[in-house]
């Protein structure tokens, strides 16, 4: 605790608590001021009322019995209570006292607070009201104002004692709150430290209370999730570059070295140069594919999407790959429904199908059959690529979309290991789902384009952006 306490004092939540306590005290002080003042006003007005009713009574006796009756009345009252709490003064215009127990007064008409000296103790505060009764007589009636002062003193005392309690409560609450917040923040920073130390799978525990902290923690965890995925893909790419680009670069270097040492004739040099160019092209192609995937994955502008004639596109791709099938002595059959249209980028879609077909042909032996089917169902347009090759083991089906990932069995076949990553990136951009299943034996890849009415979001975009595009030209 001796270590934790200073830390609590340094926390922002505790500082906040202090500020709150200060504000609370200030507002309580203001409240006191108002109560104090209002009490004064209330007591003064009730004293006024007492004084005024006495004055009215005395005025009545003046009207009824004349100056003598009034003087008698005043004298009688002073006799009854010579030391208050009501005080009287009846004096001539020249200040001579006719009757009463107040000192002479020359302040004229109006309400006034006086101090009446007393022989047996300290002077008494008196709240008085003086009026001219006739041109000859001045009457003043006052009451002891001591209750007002007592009342206000009491208010001050009550406030003093309660404010101490309030302050203690505010500070204690602040300390508790601060401690609670501190613990949760500590959990977050401990997790952050663990992650920095290399444990990327760590997540901040959620309390389940659904408060702001839980929301914050959920957001942070989601961010960590994305970061981990991004890091993982960067890690894969750098591993991929390290392994898969090193091989062709090594080959290129060896070729150059061999030419440098052995090539004698122009023809030998030419052959070496041609080999080097094709090695370089392969490396550049891998880089190009990486760049493309990155570009597509980072959200290629969907506003360029247009309505693509999928049937025509597939027929072109099939035509382009027919020679490859013939070369590999494979049977390539296609069954494409007519007038299928999808929203998208023609070039990227062509690349996606090309990669899938090329993949099927490359990994299937001679004599295998490759099939492409495109059909329309009420909910989607489905394009299926089937081969009778070795297929992909269930465990590897997710991983084949990773960059540079290659099945052990296909390490020997040429290829960058990026084909399916590109397929996945393009499919994601077009909201196309990919499903890999067994076609016993072989692999069946099904791509599903959502039907226009189910693709509300994507369907709106091209319209909206066409108008933007129109404006910019």
């Amino acid at each position: 605790m001796s270590v934790a306490l200073p830390r609590i004092l340094r926390t922002s939540s505790f500082r906040l608590t202090l500020i709150y306590a200060g504000l609370f005290a200030a507002s309580a002080l203001m409240l006191l001021e108002v109560v104090y003042w209002a009490t004064g006003v209330y007591i003064s007005s009730s004293l006024d009322a007492a004084v005024d009713s006495d004055i009215t009574e005395l005025e009545d006796s003046l009207r009824g019995g004349g100056a003598e009756a009034l003087t008698a009345q005043v004298k009688e009252r002073v006799r009854q209570m010579p030391h208050g709490p009501v005080y009287y003064l009846l004096q001539d215009p020249d200040g001579t006292i006719i009757a009463g127990n107040l000192p002479p007064f020359h302040g004229g008409e109006g309400r006034v607070d006086l101090k009446v000296p007393r022989s047996d103790g300290p002077s008494v505060p008196v709240h008085a009201h003086g009026i001219n009764l006739t041109e000859r007589q001045y009457l003043m009636v006052g009451v002891d104002a001591l209750p007002r002062r007592e009342m206000q003193k009491l208010i001050l005392r009550v406030f003093e004692s309660s404010s101490v309690v309030t302050l203690v409560l505010a500070l204690a609450g602040g300390a508790l709150m601060s401690g609670g917040l501190l613990r949760r923040i500590e959990t977050i920073s401990r997790t952050a430290r663990d992650i920095m130390a290399g444990d990327f799978s760590r997540r901040i525990p959620v309390r389940g209370t659904g408060d702001e902290f839980d929301h914050l923690v959920a957001s942070l965890n989601a961010m960590l999730e994305r970061n981990e995925a991004a890091m993982e893909s960067v890690r894969q790419v750098s591993n991929g570059i390290a392994h898969d680009l090193r091989t062709p670069l090594t080959r290129l270097r060896q070729r150059l070295e061999r030419a440098h040492r052995r090539a004698r004739s122009v023809e030998e040099w030419r052959r070496a140069a041609e080999g080097c160019i094709s090695d370089t092209d392969a490396i550049l192609e891998t880089f190009g594919a990486l760049l493309r995937i990155a570009q597509i994955a980072s959200g290629m502008p969907v506003h360029r999407f247009v309505e693509v004639d999928l049937s025509e596109l597939l027929r072109t791709v099939i035509e382009v790959f027919q020679p490859m099938a013939e070369e590999k002595e494979q049977r390539f059959t296609a069954d494409v429904a007519s007038r299928l249209t999808v929203w998208g980028d023609r070039e990227l879609l062509a690349q996606m199908f090309a990669n899938l077909i090329e993949n099927a042909m490359k990994h299937s032996p001679a004599g295998a059959s490759i099939g492409l089917m495109a059909i329309r169902s009420p909910s989607a347009i489905a394009v299926t690529v089937v081969d009778s090759g070795p297929g992909i083991p269930v465990a590897d089906r997710k991983r084949v979309f990773q960059r540079f990932y290659r099945l052990e069995s296909s390490r020997s076949t040429p290829g960058s290991g990026l084909g399916l990553s590109l397929v996945e990136a393009i499919a994601a951009l077009h909201q196309v789902s990919i499903e890999l299943t067994d076609s016993g034996p072989g692999l069946r890849v099904v791509l599903r384009f959502l039907a226009p009415d189910q693709r509300t979001l994507a369907g709106d975009r091209p319209l909206e952006s066409n108008s933007v595009a129109d404006r910019s030209f």
Partner: protein
């Protein structure tokens, strides 16, 4: 051909310019966008080769300004940006062709000559001729020495493209782009297969071969030299 090369990478600029000079072109070199625009506006060039990323004024804006000023000089974009989006925006800005770095010089040379001798207005001609080969764009019929040759639609488009660029070398990539509308290399011998089929139909049995293979570069349709 008078060519203006707007490229800031000196080494690459020299490589391209020297190569084109060897091909017999006159090449002027400029290294910034602003200079390039002034140069392109003031002098009559047959072709502009513009790098997308150049200091000052970028290639896209340069070509937009040029087109806004009513200049129709053909433009070939040269760029390290090879995404779909980049190519489309280049063509939308007013570029006529697009070549992604790194490229084979033969590819550049072929595209340069294709752009240079491209008919400025769409030809009113409805028939293309090379020696005794005739391609009718309206009836979509092909005859050699008056004899009708049956072609598949794709073969017709292939022959049409080759004949529109008769006498020029046309690369495999150019054919993929213009005949198949495929903008990546599918690594199949689709072009070779079609050329060989076309050759069987067009050249077989005739003394003069019209469809030539230019080694390491592409194909060319021309009469015997």
């Amino acid at each position: 051909m008078k060519i203006l090369l707007i490229e800031d990478d000196g080494e690459n600029a020299d490589y391209v310019a020297n190569g084109l000079r060897e091909e017999g072109h006159l090449v002027a070199q400029v290294a910034s966008g602003a200079d390039g625009l002034i140069c392109a506006m003031e002098n009559g060039f047959d072709l502009l080769i513009v790098d997308r990323m150049i200091p000052g004024l970028d290639g896209l804006s340069l070509v937009r300004s040029l087109r806004a000023a009513g200049r129709h000089t053909p433009v070939l974009f040269l760029t390290a940006l090879g995404g779909v989006e980049d190519r489309v925006s280049g063509l939308n800005a007013g570029g006529d062709d697009y070549l992604v770095k790194p490229f084979a010089f033969s590819e550049l040379a072929a595209r340069v000559s294709a752009l240079g001798r491209r008919p400025r207005t769409t030809a009113a001609d409805t028939k293309l001729h090379v020696l005794d080969l005739e391609l009718d764009l309206l009836s979509r019929r092909v005859r050699r020495r008056g004899e009708l040759i049956e072609l598949q639609p794709r073969e017709f488009r292939l022959l049409e493209y080759l004949m529109r660029h008769a006498g020029q070398v046309v690369t495999r990539t150019m054919l993929l782009e213009h005949v198949w509308d495929i903008h990546f290399d599918p690594r199949t011998n689709i072009v070779e297969t079609h050329i060989s089929r076309l050759r069987t139909k067009v050249d077989k049995g005739f003394e003069a071969e019209l469809i030539h293979t230019v080694r390491g570069a592409g194909y060319c349709v021309r009469g015997p030299a």
